[in-house]
Symmetry: C2
Subunit: 556 residues, 2 copies
Amino acid sequence: MNMGKDTVLSVFALGGLNEIGKNMYAIEYGNDIVIIDCGNKFPDESLLGIDLIIPDISYLIENQTRVRALIVTHGHEDHIGGIPFFLKKLNVPVYATRFTLGLIEIKLKEHRILRESELIEVNSNSLVPIGEMNISFFKVNHSIPDCLGIVFDTPEGTIVHTGDFKFDLTPANDERADIHKMAEIGNKGVLLLLSESTNAERPGYTPSEQMVGKNLEQIFIKAKRKVIVSTFASNVSRIQQVVHAAKATNRKLALLGRSMVNVVKVAEERGYLDIPKSMLIDARDINELPPEMVSILCTGSQGETMAALNRLSTGNFRDVEILPEDTIILAAGPIPGNEKSITSIVDNLYKLGAHVIYGSGSSSGMHVSGHGYQEDLRLMLTLMKPKYLIPIHGEYRMLHHHRMLAETVGIEEGNTFIMKNGDVVDIENSIARHTRMIPSGDTYVDGVDIGDMEFVLRDRRKISEDGMLVIIIPMNKQEEKLLSEPEFISRGFVDQNFSELRKGMHRITIETINELQEANRNSRNVMKKQVKRSIAKYVKERTRKEPMIVPILMDI
Amino acid sequence: MNMGKDTVLSVFALGGLNEIGKNMYAIEYGNDIVIIDCGNKFPDESLLGIDLIIPDISYLIENQTRVRALIVTHGHEDHIGGIPFFLKKLNVPVYATRFTLGLIEIKLKEHRILRESELIEVNSNSLVPIGEMNISFFKVNHSIPDCLGIVFDTPEGTIVHTGDFKFDLTPANDERADIHKMAEIGNKGVLLLLSESTNAERPGYTPSEQMVGKNLEQIFIKAKRKVIVSTFASNVSRIQQVVHAAKATNRKLALLGRSMVNVVKVAEERGYLDIPKSMLIDARDINELPPEMVSILCTGSQGETMAALNRLSTGNFRDVEILPEDTIILAAGPIPGNEKSITSIVDNLYKLGAHVIYGSGSSSGMHVSGHGYQEDLRLMLTLMKPKYLIPIHGEYRMLHHHRMLAETVGIEEGNTFIMKNGDVVDIENSIARHTRMIPSGDTYVDGVDIGDMEFVLRDRRKISEDGMLVIIIPMNKQEEKLLSEPEFISRGFVDQNFSELRKGMHRITIETINELQEANRNSRNVMKKQVKRSIAKYVKERTRKEPMIVPILMDI
């Protein structure tokens, strides 16, 4: 090991590895830590009642005097959803593109911290010096406008973070990626590349957005009545193509869904979306026009219950009805996990007599991914030709496939690090090693609460399975004996012979309390434990169920 | 309408329409009702703690003197899973093929009703007269052995039920479908066809099982160490192909998982599976052999937590370890809804250093569907050339697509009935009409309980979201006032300032009780309601959460 004044260059993730969601990466050099992205993740069904998951930033709080900035690659939730919670703890400057800042500002307003935040706009030509690091940027294509990759030039060497990307050579809205700049960066020498792995399992090249535009237009032409397109509000190029198709078929356009209205507003104001003023109409005007002159853009492509598409499919959207021969296009791929919610809506739409175009992008032609397939990932590796690779933004098998890919395009075996959140790669004298970890984890956001909620979730989980039995045991404080009959209240627990069961539980409770008192074991905790144990055993034997038993001893 | 002695021929479903699962169909002619299949459905996550869903058979119980028989098309759970519960209510004779009976018997043994059940073996040559109906059969291909379609010859006309099917012209195990017999049936004249719709959305022909056999063998040859194949235990032809591949590469075969062991036993005993005796080894012998001589068949291809594959992936299977360079093949398509459980296991397997082959059949080559794609469905319609069609066994959009298909191969517009469970089609003088309904629905099975559980589920759902707050209010019976301080117990509910919250709830509870007493409103129900309302409002304002509030007034 080299002694002396050499500074170690360190790289780690606090979120985004072994998962899709809550991306948060960090470059640490000497006295300076720069954070890349701060996203959230949505819980799966086992996390009952939890709203959001964000990265645990304990390490950053411990080292807060060294945290200099947050740089954001683009405006998707899994990259910006954690920012308000982060800034409340560490109010550092935030660097992002214009469109991304627009989305971040909406969040900061909701959390009432916009005024005290320092937001700095950057573009692909910006240069940001922080400590001994010089940070620059390059444009990439993705399924949202204004996305950047980030370059960290340090005395130790250059680290590149790709952001989320694909290569789209015929993008909508002329959002061309900086391929020449990427080649230049690669030529100058890249020590370590952090590259996203979402589609590393898929062979070939990611199809271009242009394909969707053509298909959309075809459907708009054929459609006899109104056309409804549901897609991600953030997919501004998709929205632009819907606008084109509406224009080509002389249709007006209504926007349904709060996030659709918000994002289109931001995109239009900042010049990312071109919609002829006369084209936009209100939801209320839809019924005034002949249906062949109407098109609608709505939220809810992932089957979200409260979003527009589901409400339309169940007849619960004020002013707008789906009528027979209407055409509905689901212009978004189903994100794994959402398939059933989506097909449920498709069923409803068919029942209403509509024509429905749905399915994965390859079957419907109405969606292409924003993430690079294998050849896109190979192209990035070829342009950047890094010495080391850390695959990011993926579940384990995606990181694994990315490593296999890398070894086919010149990354030496052993130079790809498959890491977990919290693992640290240290680079000294151009040699990278993974030898240590820092604290990391999940922080749950539940309503207004933030924190560790394991025990809460455990309780909710148990109750959700077999329900709950509350046993109230009124004790005479002075005389240390039962004051009155115990009471049994159940919720979410059912048994055909509940009255018989209650008699048995009654008997057992009284026996248990009496036995303990005779043995002079009057501790309330011991009594609760014993009652819980005996009742649980009895209930399980009689009903095969295991409701949560909650004995409450009341001293009166 | 024709008066006189004409008997109406009626057809309806009690399960299987607008859903995948719990199939149960019925043909009713005069004094005789014949049931086709009796399956179960597995609940989704919203049905907390429910084990199974079966069809509501109230109508059959009301008409029990007319229910003559249950005919079973094949042994999948969604066709036989409800049989034990059905027979406990209506003990009618059960007709099924040898393999199917083997699986039914396992269930009846578990429910301890095997001895009193009447099980009658049939094959494609059998003739079963019931009342004025003559029932015959024909072989079809599916992903389980010994499947039949059913023909009901009645004075009113012929009704055909396809069972579940595909057309596989190169099936494993020589299980050839009766195409000539189907053509004959069609030529004699089919009034109404009930045909399954599972893959009605998919264009083309269903690929043949033979393709999987070839791919399996390739992988077995390339595999350097042991090979583990997970698939459905009931897919006997898939298992036969694994046996072939093992034989071709000189490997022994171990079976892991109770259902795998059980079904292979039934299949082998009854001649459906050919495994050289010397090939089978115990799990315990695996470690005694060099890994290139080992192959394993296991359960858990759908990511089931307790099944073999998941336990292997987490190192929790006694005697068997997954080691680096082992090859694992998921030879089963992911059933919609199971994708996340499966990819989670794939991640673990990669972490253990294994090679993993997974994905949908078209991407992995290791699975083909057992259900006909669009051209298979067209072929069945062409062979049977029915006057009327009832698409069955599918969610709405699948039934809808099946109808569109039918209209391309000669079924007149208006002659396809898209029905719901409980809808009845009546046929008189060769005219079919849908004009009435009978009772139908879901019956939940929870542990040992059967019945309607809406309120239980509603409670569980609420508690699982935000938890539960129990408020115990001890009242002095004689004096009609609070006897002691109210107590607050929470489960699954958390707040950062619980002590503050408790003080507030304490205050509000006492205020509410006092107000009611001063107004002379001493009804316990009114008190509970008011306390619940005030506390819920207070908690929501302070925490934005809505735990279930359970006030308990105890008269002491």
